[in-house]
Subunit: 405 residues, 2 copies
């Protein structure tokens, strides 16, 4: 008999207390911290071969044995994942380091245009299976679009609370996808407070990041794919733009699982997180040696996905960065936009500012010697530039009929 | 020794005259019609097994034996293709035909957000390999974005000529991707005339649709994928939004090749093309029994991809529709937008108006009995709704702080 998922239980990410996984769960009752999904890795190691992946569909659910859905019927999918890992041979030269070994994992090719699709596919699958009748979240951007899409796909109503000045592409997607959108004259925390105040009486399940256990499980598949796409090894370093940081937490967990499965060895990439100069709580905490990150005051950056003053998974992110011998650094808005134009014009990969932040950081880390051009580095583009068209004003000559350029 | 590509030569699509494939070619010198790529199918049938696909990357280049690039080094790729084929179990019910067997092939998950990526990946690969030093095209939309992306990826300059009122997302992508953009105070044919007038003196290679042989080769991979994703069989009908119609021509060619390879049998889907009521030259020609389609006067539709008054491959499209026992029909702009909202809110798939046109047509064809709900139908979404945000105005309540919905 083949096992669809080796999920066994949930575990408090702080103290390790166990929770069962077949009821809707939020954060841990013991510590109020994120719950992590745990699998029977020993059994999976005996039974599950990586050769089984060869004929499977090109989505993140190819790794369903290490995902939480209990059957294929439970899965709510739009084909998310298995995004391209693109070698970028000319990028090094453009940075003054010809031959630098750099690749881009292009998450912009996911449904709804960002890596948020992975997390919502997993979270909505589980929420529906475990009895949620309506979903809600506060969001300033791409998570809202992803939740709206997966809720529609699941046949569940979704309620999204966004600041009035939230990213236009997210508002449009949410509305077009048939979710109930409320715009708030206020900030993202006002939106979060409203969801918290209403969710009990309205029977909404809150899928805000790391407030339920499964978005991180979806995002961890970025780590599985990286290993598979590189032939079951990992790069020397990963540069990741960290807002809530769930992707980083998820990938670090994926590498542990892959080693436990016997599919990779014990070597790990240096995990490097990139934030915006105007909102860098994790960078500050990393350099101060703090276990937790104090909230950032007056966060300001045009990269909406990085405008996250406090991340509930802060200690998990910082732990992964430190255990891996990685680092944390901030880049300016101008550096992100310049990097976006460089990546687009040099390699044809069109990103938003968040997705370009790792390239801006890579340039700095090459310059200061933290990274060597011989080291294989993967930059994560977390979202398509199509989500942020307003960041890229067009200047072009206009020709009258008969006029030649 | 394994063969990377079984390409042998090119052939005039009208008279069958042969041309060689290792120089840059445009249309046939004999008839001025599109050239089709031909492969050594007999040899491929002996040597190439479909089981070889299992471990390959999830892009259209998994079928490289039947694509024109002569080596992996020649390929200019951003990971295009192998897009999801999504079963849509609730869509039938929403149309009043519960249980209808309908799937959506979601081309919006390609690089640059549309199926145009496939064609440009193949065309730019070949153009660079055969010596083109600069690429040019007139375009009102997504083809421009795709050309800009693949030219950048190839390290070639690109010159795009677009009407001043062209789709914003395309203008932004072209500019951000570092191509030279010119905006024309005029229509797409003015843009085309300017490219034609300049290309000799500027040494630009013109990659306008079907004016070179390989965009159709890229697009045919939609047919290969459909067969592979369905387990080497084809659906009962395919509904495809036809502007230039290269996708339809390409898929029909793919099915012939797949049968010659022995990978599918002789059964074919009914091929059905969908156009806009305000620009339906192929629909008119189909119903009049014409071999060629007369140009449409005063074309007007909000679906930019369907605003194609004259298609150079008209006779090839009409032939495929007729040989397959298919049909051709037009839908209104309002029907497209309504279908887009229905598909988004029912199944979580956010399309532009072009990509929703097949659903609008499917509704009509179910209603008039041309299609039965038991028939398996694939609707092609050719592009993401992110390319057309302006078509989906947001109406949402705005809450003041402390206000409850």
């Amino acid at each position: 008999m083949t096992v669809y998922s080796y999920l066994t239980h949930l575990e408090c990410s702080r103290c390790g207390h166990e929770y069962e996984s077949e009821h809707l769960q939020t954060v841990s009752a013991c510590c109020g911290k994120p719950l992590l999904a745990r699998y029977d890795l020993a059994r999976a190691r005996r039974e599950w071969r990586r050769s089984s992946l060869a004929g499977r569909e090109a989505s993140m659910w190819r790794y369903h044995e290490m995902l939480p859905a209990q059957s294929e019927a439970e899965v709510v999918s739009l084909g998310e994942g298995m995004t391209p890992l693109l070698a970028c041979p000319r990028l090094g030269g453009a940075l003054g380091f010809a031959g630098a070994r750099v690749l881009v994992k292009d998450e912009g090719q996911n449904p709804t245009g960002s890596f948020k699709a992975r997390g919502m596919s997993a979270a909505v699958s589980r929420a529906r299976a475990l009895g949620a009748r309506a979903l809600a979240a506060p969001s300033a951007g791409n998570a809202a679009a992803a939740l709206a899409a997966y809720a529609a796909r699941a046949g569940l109503p979704a309620f999204l609370f966004m600041p009035e000045d939230a990213q236009e592409s997210a508002k449009v997607q949410v509305a077009a996808l048939g979710a109930q959108l409320y715009l708030i004259k206020g900030l993202i925390n006002d939106a979060g407070a409203l969801v918290a105040a209403l969710k009990e009486e309205r029977s909404w399940f809150d899928v805000a990041t790391l407030k339920e256990p499964y978005r991180a499980e979806g995002k961890k598949t970025m780590g599985y794919e990286l290993a598979e796409q590189l032939g079951w090894r990992l790069p020397d370093a990963i540069l990741y733009p960290a807002g809530g940081g769930t992707g980083m937490v998820g990938m670090w967990k994926a590498f542990e699982e892959l080693e436990a499965l016997g599919w990779i060895d014990g070597r790990r990439p240096r995990m490097m997180i990139v934030q915006a100069e105007g909102c860098a709580p994790l960078v500050r905490a990393f350099h101060q040696g703090d276990e937790y990150a104090a909230p950032w005051q007056d966060a300001e950056t045009l990269a909406g996905g990085l405008r996250v003053p406090a991340a509930i998974g802060d200690f998990l992110i910082l732990r992964a960065v430190r255990e891996s011998g990685g680092t944390a650094l901030a880049v300016s808005d101008a550096e992100m936009l310049e990097a976006a134009r460089l990546l687009a014009s040099t390699e044809g990969i069109f990103t938003g500012p968040e997705g370009a932040a790792p390239l801006a950081a890579y340039r700095k880390l090459l310059a200061d010697g933290t990274l060597q051009p011989e080291e294989e580095v993967v930059l994560f583009n977390t979202g398509s530039g199509l989500l942020n068209l307003e960041q890229f004003p067009v200047q072009a000559p206009v020709l009258r009929p008969g006029e030649r350029p």
